[in-house]
């Protein structure tokens, strides 16, 4: 298309403007086309998925109730991913015998071979699905590939691989992955708790051992993880942590101080210089403390830090042998102490 002639000497620029405009229009057309293509593809996929679901959902439902049909419908290769998604969805909703029946169907359809292939060569989304499938199917032959996946940088994919490995063999997973687990900063606590909570027996000793070899910088987070998972450390290790130089480590270790043997060290840290240690010590003293700890906690009621005062007040309020009147009199000396005690008592009354 010939460009119109221009009267001024800035015609070069206007030429540029013209062609850029034409380019923009062409790109817009392409975009419109792409949008239509995407829509049509999405629609086709939707129709296929619906057909697949209509065929397979009754089969899977029947299987879960113990009635596995003799002949299974044919599963086309291109429906595999959406079938696996449906299968996974059901597996995550049921447990027990129903889950086992779903595995039976999966083995009959050779989903394990497919999943292993996807794990080795698929894209990110396919690998995630494959990991979950292999975990549910407890397919040991995929161990090495899953281990490799668990060491990946991608946090979502790797933590799922951890889950799968724990499903297959919790003890071996603990031996291999306890230390890497403590080292990683990108595995969410919440997910780790769900994965490990049923396998505490195997993981507790492994994590305690790994704690000995983890870098000092990672110790506080590692200890916090153990506390959140409600795992117990052997007394010797705990006491070593409680005597550590780094206040961060001590504060984190205090979260694990739930048994009476730790009491002397907990008491020693009540007057620590770092407020984060004082806070945890006050908190720990609640369930552990007795009458002789009351004066110590009373001092903390007037601490400079709000959180120390709060936890100390809560600890005192949780002691079974102190009544509200006594608690108020304990706090009467200092304005901040009185304020925080009033709040804690009101919270208790409301609960």
């Amino acid at each position: 298309m010939p460009s119109p002639g221009f009267r001024t000497t800035s015609e070069l620029w206007l030429e540029v403007a013209w062609w850029v405009g034409v380019g923009a229009l062409a790109l817009t057309m392409l975009i419109a086309l792409q949008i239509i293509v995407l829509r049509m593809a999405a629609r086709r996929r939707q129709v296929r998925d619906h057909a697949m679901t209509q065929t397979w959902r009754p089969v899977l439902n029947a299987a879960m109730l113990g009635e596995v049909p003799a002949n299974l419908p044919r599963l086309a290769a291109r429906d595999m991913m959406s079938f696996l998604t449906l299968w996974l969805h059901l597996q995550q909703s049921v447990r027990g015998a129903a889950g086992q029946e779903l595995n039976t169907i999966a083995y009959r359809l050779q989903c394990d071979a497919l999943a292993r292939r996807l794990l080795a060569r698929g894209n990110r989304a396919e690998r995630v699905v494959a990991t979950l499938v292999l975990g549910h199917m407890q397919d040991r032959s995929a161990w090495d590939d899953l281990l490799r996946e668990a060491r990946e940088l991608d946090s979502a994919a790797s933590i799922l691989a951890l889950w799968a490995l724990v499903q297959i063999d919790a003890a071996q997973a603990a031996d291999t992955l306890a230390l890497p687990l403590l080292r990683r900063t990108d595995w969410p606590l919440a997910q780790l708790a769900t994965i490990l909570q049923e396998q505490r027996n195997t993981w507790e000793p492994a994590l305690a051992r790994a704690l000995g070899t983890v870098e000092p910088a990672r110790l506080p987070d590692a200890l916090r993880l153990l506390a959140a998972l409600r795992l117990d450390l052997p007394q010797a290790v705990l006491q070593q942590m409680l005597g550590h130089d780094d206040p961060d480590v001590v504060a984190a270790a205090l979260r694990l101080a739930t048994s009476p043997e730790a009491l002397p060290q907990v008491r020693a840290h009540i007057a620590h210089a770092d407020w984060r240690v004082r806070v945890q010590a006050a908190r720990a003293l609640g369930p552990l403390g007795n009458r002789e700890d009351v004066p110590r906690l009373q001092e903390l009621l007037a601490d400079r830090q709000w959180w120390v005062r709060y936890r100390a007040a809560q600890a005192l309020a949780s002691l079974p042998f102190l009544r509200p009147a006594e608690l108020e009199s304990l706090a009467a000396g200092d304005r901040f102490a009185a304020d925080i005690m009033r709040q804690v008592l009101a919270e208790q009354a409301a609960a």
């Binding site: 959902r57 029947a62 909703s93 049921v94 447990r95 027990g96």
Partner: protein
């Protein structure tokens, strides 16, 4: 009225689970009425001519959560004694306590065992008749 024509109200927003529940219960010969969110549940509670023999109710529902739905069930005349079994997602104590306090008769933790759920349903329906 025999067990076989018992009506069960199922309130569950997850389609896979609700389909499974419907499949399970209808195979046993029960009738089912489905509601897939809190608003549909409320509508069912208001519009069903007679109370169901059992309600299976999910806690996490869109728009009105399960605890409120239990309240609505207990508030409707003639529905006070309908057994309500809640499906709770997490097995943490506060949720279970809250479910029972709200008026539920029992709870089942998700992920659930289909046969166990069936057994509980049968027990409640047997108690009723």
């Amino acid at each position: 009225m025999t067990d076989q024509s018992a009506l069960i109200l199922i309130v569950e927003d997850n389609e896979n689970i609700s389909q499974l529940l419907q499949f399970m219960l209808e195979r046993q010969g029960y009738r089912t009425h489905m509601a897939n969110d809190g608003l549909a549940a409320r509508q069912a509670i208001e519009e069903l001519p007679e109370p169901p023999q059992l309600v299976l109710l999910d806690v996490m529902l869109p728009y009105i959560d399960g605890f409120e739905v239990v309240g609505l069930i207990r508030a409707r005349a003639g529905w006070e004694d309908v057994p309500v079994v809640m499906l709770t997602a997490k097995n943490t104590e506060p949720d279970i306590v809250r479910a029972l306090d709200a008026g539920a008769s029992d709870y089942i933790v998700k992920p659930f065992q289909p046969n166990e759920l069936l057994a509980r349903v049968r027990r409640y329906l047997k108690e009723k008749s």
